[in-house]
Symmetry: C3
Subunit: 383 residues, 3 copies
Amino acid sequence: MWMDTKTEMEEASRSRASFSQRVLNGLLLCTGDMDHLDKSMQDKLFVLQLAVWGLRGVTRVILANNPLSGALILAALYWASPWQGLLGTLGVLASTLTAVVIGQDSAEVSGGHHGFNGMLVSLLMGVFSSAGDWYWWLLLPVCLGSATCVFLYSALSSVLDRWDLPVAVFPFNITILLYLLCTGPDNPYFPHHTATPPGALDPNGTELIVVEVMRGSLLGVGQIFACEALGPTLLILGAVLLYSPLLAAHALLGSAVGTLAGLSTAVHHEFLYSGLSGLNGALGCMAVGGLFFTFNWRTHLLAIASAFLSAYADIALSNLLGTVGLPACSWAATLTTTLMLLLTGCLAAYRIPIGQVMTPERNLYSRSRWEAGNTTERQSTDV
Amino acid sequence: MWMDTKTEMEEASRSRASFSQRVLNGLLLCTGDMDHLDKSMQDKLFVLQLAVWGLRGVTRVILANNPLSGALILAALYWASPWQGLLGTLGVLASTLTAVVIGQDSAEVSGGHHGFNGMLVSLLMGVFSSAGDWYWWLLLPVCLGSATCVFLYSALSSVLDRWDLPVAVFPFNITILLYLLCTGPDNPYFPHHTATPPGALDPNGTELIVVEVMRGSLLGVGQIFACEALGPTLLILGAVLLYSPLLAAHALLGSAVGTLAGLSTAVHHEFLYSGLSGLNGALGCMAVGGLFFTFNWRTHLLAIASAFLSAYADIALSNLLGTVGLPACSWAATLTTTLMLLLTGCLAAYRIPIGQVMTPERNLYSRSRWEAGNTTERQSTDV
Amino acid sequence: MWMDTKTEMEEASRSRASFSQRVLNGLLLCTGDMDHLDKSMQDKLFVLQLAVWGLRGVTRVILANNPLSGALILAALYWASPWQGLLGTLGVLASTLTAVVIGQDSAEVSGGHHGFNGMLVSLLMGVFSSAGDWYWWLLLPVCLGSATCVFLYSALSSVLDRWDLPVAVFPFNITILLYLLCTGPDNPYFPHHTATPPGALDPNGTELIVVEVMRGSLLGVGQIFACEALGPTLLILGAVLLYSPLLAAHALLGSAVGTLAGLSTAVHHEFLYSGLSGLNGALGCMAVGGLFFTFNWRTHLLAIASAFLSAYADIALSNLLGTVGLPACSWAATLTTTLMLLLTGCLAAYRIPIGQVMTPERNLYSRSRWEAGNTTERQSTDV
């Protein structure tokens, strides 16, 4: 009798729980990782599958993983510049197809892991090219560079797996530097602009415009896709918000921290206004705050520390590489994130193994469930 | 009765097989790894043993391993320049002896693994020295540099063993850069030429001479030994042919690919004519095509990709290091080969473990036998 | 009866042994690692504990580990320049406290492992600052830089542990380069001097002064703490002597070797006079001679080879980094020591696992005891 009542109550609570669960699931359909899409895509045409893989790859650039966000970001890029949008699309497709051809792990390919480096290489090749838009010869290095990223990704993963580290954007950073070094500024086929080190003195010491600095702090998020226009940047930020609000908040926070770091070392104004000072801070902050570490106040502080370190390291590397006319890209954020993931001691307990990384919200949820499970277990063991 | 006939038939087929086997063995006596020589050398004088180890070391430079080829290559070097020949001989002996003295693994020493880095360091020291031939003081850094390579080889092997990677010519590349950095161009004791980056513009834009470019593509193989003369280069190529025809073909193919890569990025003409553009392509192509991967059409395509990547990376690194007057040596090919060996996915299945690397032909043969064995086994299991 | 006598004799010999042991212990109280201090400090105030950890950290810079030596060295720094002393103290405290806050391993913290990198960063920031002494704004980067070292130390230890390598001063070398790159020579907030490459030609070719060179060879030991005065250098040398005479002898030997290497490559005179040429030689010699390898004539020769290699590599790296105005700090010695610790072959047998490293004298003692034990065991097994 008592047993029955208990069962009924449990069922009732379960139905309530399942209702709220269903609402949560409904919301999660278009947000988060959108795992459910993969299952429904399994028996579709290869072209459709490739599109989803590519869109996931587009979001991987900004540490997200959601095809819908990918479509939004791609729209933002086409809005900012159709030529850049085309290059990005080509880059993500070329590298994903290369991965299919040389037989990379299918789970990695379908997760978009082989697309984002190629996309970044293509976008940066376009930005640095001084031959102007619609210079069709550029598609040659774009395709070759994107394909090279797959080889680098595959090889680096063998090394970094030993420490359970992500390959991240190391392949992009290596490939773009090699490309820019191969073709100097005066190359007859593929000329490009040289990067100015941020420590270079302004020729005419003008006053700092506060509004411009705040705008630059926003643009830092857009600069992750080498996009310097405000509208598209906001669209990109919206796409990240769709994936995970926590990640979007950290992107803004990190970009602001980066701008602060830039101000404290008196970099030249253009570096602040264009958002380049915020780029690495944003990436460093997003990676630690929620993505690779469970979110709590300790890892939040670590994320801010990571943003500062990324930003200062970026200024240092930009000054160093700027002496030979090269940009520092996202070396600083990638190295800092790798550093943070290698940390030992108390903070390592909050780290999420690479294989289990999901949206920050789901990371948090699964952690709290796991902890609750642990507590229950401990209690039942105590009894 | 029936049994007997079968046995006889088997014996007959075996004797036929053993005859063809014997012919093959006869041919293999002077070609390939010449393992049999090691056994007959075991109780000989130390000086004779050292000579064989040294000659193996000489061929290791060009990824071969055959004392007879080593003698041919050494002859080619003495033909090109007696001073360079002397430096090379001294380098290979100094580093092999150092390895014996500090007690390195005897199998490695007798395989010539401790000779080739020292030899390359000595040759490059000679080439870059601006004090002219027969400058006897140069023997001091030659001996010290060659000895340093042994320490680097031993230490790097501890690290690279974790991923079953060869140490290759990393020690040479590190040592020669340190030497050139230590002694600047104006050093009173050991002055040297500075390297010109290949991206530097030609002062007078002359027409490209096609015959010279084709000659440069051949010289790329000779440049592996820092040799820029056509005759000795052909002799070196003959030495590689003696070791393995497949390897020689890949050397030529890789050098041609490298020249193509140089043309596509418009490097200055001297870089193409001297064969420097082909050097890294040849090394990258040889390492992948047959040596560290079983030869088939897939790895053949990978070898061409590796040659292109090596060649482009070499142009990039030469431009970077050229800003401080340093040569890129064979950094590009060494890094690219390491990258290719780290690849995961389908292509990794063709990789040969470092401990089992033989001539490309024997790699192919043992692979096909192993596969045949597997098939037979599977059939017998099926029955 | 016979049994009793034997026991008595054993007791007598033991009492004699214990007497000499006690004398030895008495001498070891203030010398060596001073382990006993740790036990008596366990229930003391946190501030006192922190002081001991900090003093241990101070000596870790020069590869020693003795709070008393630390006090002497700190006194030497205050003697040379009170401002530098203050910066050093602040650096060691800031980094040790950071390590406590972010929850690093307590054994590492109490051993001073998290203090020495922060201290070096602070000292070098002070030396390179061109804003003069008592420029209070410098305390900001000093604290941040010291804190960064803890993150780097923790992360690098995850990587280097795989090969049982010490993190050594890698964090310091990375942090100081990043700081100097961040703030250029003309930075309005944190200006600094640029380093001159040692290969730069002297503007007026003066004669070499032998006494100055010998003085510079002594100053090489002081330069480990960025101290260029003779008196404090002698005090620092005394502090090392208190920890371990063997280590002090190797410091002097290494510094002399470094000066010799400098002479052989004709570096400019200021590099020799200031002791900068001896710095890396001293560190490379100390690390190999007795600390990480059991002392004997073979490792003594290896220590000299290590000193030469460190010194030459330092000149090379100084020339390279000097092209962008950066100092090479102790990169050369750190890399060379890492290399020596990775050596395979006979010499690896003398290597002491990182967890068991003590003073050179105790290393030697425990080795000989272990060997004696082995011999006895073998004998008893033979019987």
